[in-house]
């Protein structure tokens, strides 16, 4: 039996429909595959956007933290000394694939204060890099005081006994730590440091000597005496004795005596915001209630002037002040703590009680003592 081919379904040239069908199907599949690949690529790039953005943010945050941590040594504020000045910290690559950061500093105050706007930009390391910005306002550390850059400095010898000290200690001779004393700060001596293991900080022996010039006494008469009860002042000899249970307030200004002796329970007081300088060509003995100057060492600065080289001593209960007496042995006694800066021919912290440098002088090395202070709440982060 044979089957006739139906009329009208003839195959011209013997071709079937399978080949065109396969070609069309393949074309459709190809289009679908290309579309899928394109979509996958878009999705891949989009999914990478979020981690790249996070990397950029952390690069900016890391850069900001690095700049703040190294501010004291890098002194970025010196790049913008005048109001309106702008400086750019070039791009710094962070380790590995952590990205990079750059900073822009601008001194934004009008000269009446000291304010810097710091904008740190972070970038991810990927070619699909993203950017993030963090801005803070900060107050740079005070310029280091030319004299009071040390918690204690003895031109001949520095000794800490039963003392925990915080800040830089130095000597143009030797430094000695006695009876469980320990220093959290740097020890720098032209001679030796005994014992370096008592120091949490950098120990430098054989350092170059620090120049500390003698101080000339003010011209003119002695005094003036501060007002108040128990004040015994001899204008002829320049001796001032404070023997009172009351506080004696020194008005802002400069004073000149040949003796300043405080006894009794009263304290030497300085009004808030005032600054007092006392020059002494003779002996200093503060054995009373100490100093009340609102915990600002800069507010009371005592200078040893002239040729006298007698020993000075303090035993008050609160002692926040600065002493510069390059010819005198300065003995810091009593169980009380001492805060400020103490420069003498010899400086001996003789009994228990902390010795702390006042960072307001701006000379502290290491740590964040001398770093820039970020205005609380000023941190703003932006992405783009």
């Amino acid at each position: 039996m044979s089957i006739h081919r139906a009329e009208g379904v003839a195959r011209p040239n013997g071709d079937g429909f399978a080949l065109p069908t396969v070609v069309v199907v393949l074309l459709l599949l190809g289009v679908i595959a290309i579309g899928t690949a394109v979509n996958a690529g878009v999705d891949l790039r989009a999914s990478k956007g979020m981690p790249e953005s996070a990397r950029a943010f952390y690069a900016a945050e890391g850069g900001l933290n690095l700049m703040l941590a190294t501010w004291e040594t890098a002194r970025y504020d010196t790049l913008v000394p005048n109001p309106g000045d702008t400086a750019v910290v070039p791009w710094v690559k962070l380790p590995g694939s952590a990205g990079s950061y750059s900073g822009v500093l601008q001194r934004v105050d009008d000269g009446s204060a000291n304010m810097i706007a710091l904008t740190v930009e972070g970038r991810s390391a990927s070619p699909l890099w993203s950017q993030s910005l963090i801005r803070v306002s900060l107050v740079p550390p005070a310029q280091p005081d030319s004299l009071f850059r040390w918690a204690a400095f003895g031109l001949f010898y520095t000794e800490l006994n039963q003392t925990l000290a915080y800040g830089p200690i130095g000597s143009n001779g030797d430094i000695e730590f006695k009876s469980a004393s320990h220093l959290f700060g740097d020890a720098t001596a032209v001679g030796t440091v005994t014992d370096p293991t008592d120091v949490t900080g950098t120990v430098t022996e054989g350092a170059a000597p620090e120049p500390f010039d003698p101080v000339a006494c003010p011209g003119g008469p002695f005094g003036p005496p501060p007002p108040g009860p128990g004040v015994d002042f001899n204008p002829a000899t320049g001796e001032l004795k404070l023997d009172s249970g009351s506080d004696i307030t020194f008005p802002a200004g400069t004073y000149y005596f040949t003796l300043l002796k405080q006894s009794g329970a009263g304290r030497i007081s300085i009004a808030a915001g005032d600054s007092v300088r006392i020059y002494i060509d003779g002996q200093l003995s503060l054995d009373g209630g100490g100093v009340d100057n609102h915990n600002t060492a800069r507010a009371l600065q005592i200078f040893g002037c002239g040729a006298d080289a007698s020993a000075w001593q303090m035993t008050g209960t609160t002692n926040v002040l600065a002493v510069y007496a390059p010819k005198h042995t300065v003995k810091l006694k009593g169980p009380a703590a001492y805060t400020g800066s103490f420069i003498g021919w010899e400086v001996k912290k003789e009994t228990a009680g902390d010795l702390r440098y006042d960072p307001a002088f701006g000379g502290m090395a290491g740590g964040s003592w001398g770093g820039a202070k970020v205005v609380p709440g000023s941190r703003t982060q932006l992405s783009r």
């Binding site: 013997g14 071709d15 105050d109 009446s112 904008t119 609380p376």
Partner: protein, 274 residues
């Protein structure tokens, strides 16, 4: 039997057998392709759901973390803290005061970063170095600089003009000095909201209606957002000004409620502005 008048020669055509074979093969091929496409579609749908849930978690965590990171609890940026909602100041922009017009209670701002456009409920935080604190004022007007008089140029030397001028509402003078940092903010509430019978992370600005940020989230009581607040000592706190860090627990589900794809994420965010 002869083919009546037909000559086969080159004449084409298909036999019933060929037709059956073609059809059978076509059914097999098409059937296999369709089943493959269906399986692929299901797989793609599952993958889409998983991705959808993860994207929801990521975006929710990122949005909340970004806001919280730059808040200052001690300054009062966290206005109301709850386990499922948070009302806070949302910082939109940052700049520096470079000119002041005390007569009009206006500032000229240098290098504004972020969004310095007028919206409803805008306020300005100004740091006063003398008071050593931030002072908030409602923004009355905000426009591009420079302005006239003392707002025509910045206080520093050289031809520099304020980029933005902001007038604030004040009856007793305005705080701040040249160089004071300023931040533009709006009060924003983040919380779980219901929309189209699903739960979402929502946000409303200055007391307006909630708008959807991302989602959907798990349905309460299996809530999609749970917030815990801790102070500097690591203890849980309900005092907004004591918040030091915040933990987020997020639970999201896929858009396709039938698939019920779910996932969760935890994050801890430290407030950078203490």
């Amino acid at each position: 039997m002869t083919k009546g008048g037909d000559t086969h020669g080159s004449e084409g055509g298909i036999t019933v057998t060929e037709l059956l074979v073609y059809m059978t093969l076509s059914f097999v091929v098409v059937g296999a392709a369709v089943s493959l496409l269906i399986a692929q579609s299901r797989h793609a749908r599952r993958q889409f759901d998983v991705t959808d849930v993860r994207e929801t978690l990521r975006s929710a965590a990122a949005a909340l973390a970004w806001e919280i990171q730059q808040a200052s609890a001690s300054r009062g940026d966290l206005i109301a803290i709850g386990s499922q909602s948070l009302v806070m100041r949302s910082i939109e922009g940052s700049a520096t005061v470079c000119a002041i017009d005390s007569l009009t209670n206006s500032y000229g701002l240098w290098q504004p970063l972020g969004r310095f456009v007028k919206n409803g409920g805008d306020s300005l935080l100004v740091y006063d170095a003398g008071l050593q604190q931030w002072v908030a004022h409602e923004i009355v007007n905000l426009k591009p600089g420079p302005g006239g008089g003392p707002l025509s140029s910045c206080a520093w030397s050289g031809p520099r003009a304020p980029g933005v001028l902001v007038k604030v509402k004040s009856v007793s003078g305005i705080p701040g000095q040249i160089g004071s940092p300023v931040q533009k903010f709006r009060v924003v509430e983040y919380g779980v909201m219901n929309w189209s019978d699903r739960w979402w992370l929502g946000r409303r600005v200055s007391g307006a209606s909630f708008e959807v940020l991302t989602g959907p989230l798990a349905t309460p009581p299996d809530s999609g957002v749970v917030l815990h607040y801790y102070d500097a000592a690591g203890a849980a706190t309900a005092v907004s000004t004591s918040v030091h860090r915040l933990s987020l627990r997020l639970r999201a589900e896929s858009q396709d409620s039938l698939a019920e794809r779910r996932d969760s994420a935890y994050a801890t965010v430290f407030l950078r502005n203490q």
